[in-house]
Symmetry: C2
Subunit: 195 residues, 2 copies
């Protein structure tokens, strides 16, 4: 049984036995305890990571409130690419919501991965295409969607999190107070917003 | 003397004589006359392109007005990646401001480029990293910057266009009417906004 990290990368590119050995040597394990930070505003993101298990939130401070604009979960890659690629201080926070097992790759080791894994560059190109597409959708939604649309988008993107996630996290993602979220949910259950 | 297209790609990756031949065979020339469209809202972007000469605007319709959110000029790549990569209808327009000479690559030919040019995938990965970084900066600016900040950003990003560009294009980029742009320029010349 291959590790989840190897399975994830193999979903992009074929991996030889040698490629798998390189990957397993390069990525370093790290556990984030609940509420431990992966990245804070002002720090430079030093790692490209894979989430083997757990859950993280991406958030910024907006008008004094924590605004969660994304979640990362099991089987996702995790990175602030803007900070990581350009070695610039981040404008976001990334923090574990629950105990999270990560596999980390430094900037230098990612460059080594690209040049030494047989189709490493292809993986990089495909991953950046995905990241680009997801980030554009996320940013446009963050700035233009109504709370109702944000909530429907949450249901679509994170159906597995609806039950297990505390309500105030969902409210923060939607950009409203928890009591407003209850009203939005009620209206959606009544079918008002589904057409 | 190498063609501008070859010089551009060679600024990312080393190119063999064979690589150059592949590239020159794959890219097809196209001239856009002044005000001719490269892409319209609702169309799927079919080409990744290189601008050998000329100037284009990227714009959307916002509250009934044309909002120019970016320019593409000589030596830039040109594409709506969100539409091109995901074969989805575009939500933007791209149009020539002046006569523009392009070199086009279709989606299928770009895939062929990646697999047949020696370091083609590396080019793709590096280009997508650049596109990611530029798009995030552009989107955040589009949604959060004040007109003054947008104008300073225009001066920084397009110093070569300040003189040659009609004022109403710059006003559209800044998100104001031309008369408001004059006031912003005056305040900046007086040094109010430069600190």
């Amino acid at each position: 049984m291959k590790s989840p990290l190897i399975q994830k990368i193999a979903s992009f590119i074929p991996l030889s036995v040698n490629d798998e050995e390189i990957i397993l040597q390069l990525f370093k394990e790290r556990i984030l305890e609940k509420e431990e930070s992966f990245l804070r505003i002002g720090e430079t993101c030093r790692y490209f990571a894979f989430i083997e298990s757990g859950l993280v939130k991406y958030f910024i401070n907006q008008d004094g409130n924590e605004f969660i604009y994304n979640f990362g979960r099991k089987n996702d890659f995790l990175c602030d690419y803007g900070s990581f690629l350009n070695r610039r201080p981040s404008v976001k926070n990334i923090e574990a919501i629950e105990r999270t097992r990560l596999w980390l790759l430094s900037y230098e080791d990612l460059k080594f991965f690209y040049s030494s894994v047989t189709e490493g560059e292809r993986f990089g190109r495909m991953n950046m295409e995905n990241v680009y597409t997801e980030t554009v959708v996320q940013l446009v939604s963050q700035y233009t969607d109504t709370p109702e649309k944000r909530y429907l988008q949450f249901l679509r993107n994170f159906p597995d999190l609806v039950q297990k996630m505390p309500q105030y996290y969902i409210a923060s993602y939607v950009g409203v107070k928890p009591q407003s979220l209850s009203r939005i949910r009620k209206r959606i259950q009544e079918g008002d917003l589904l057409t």
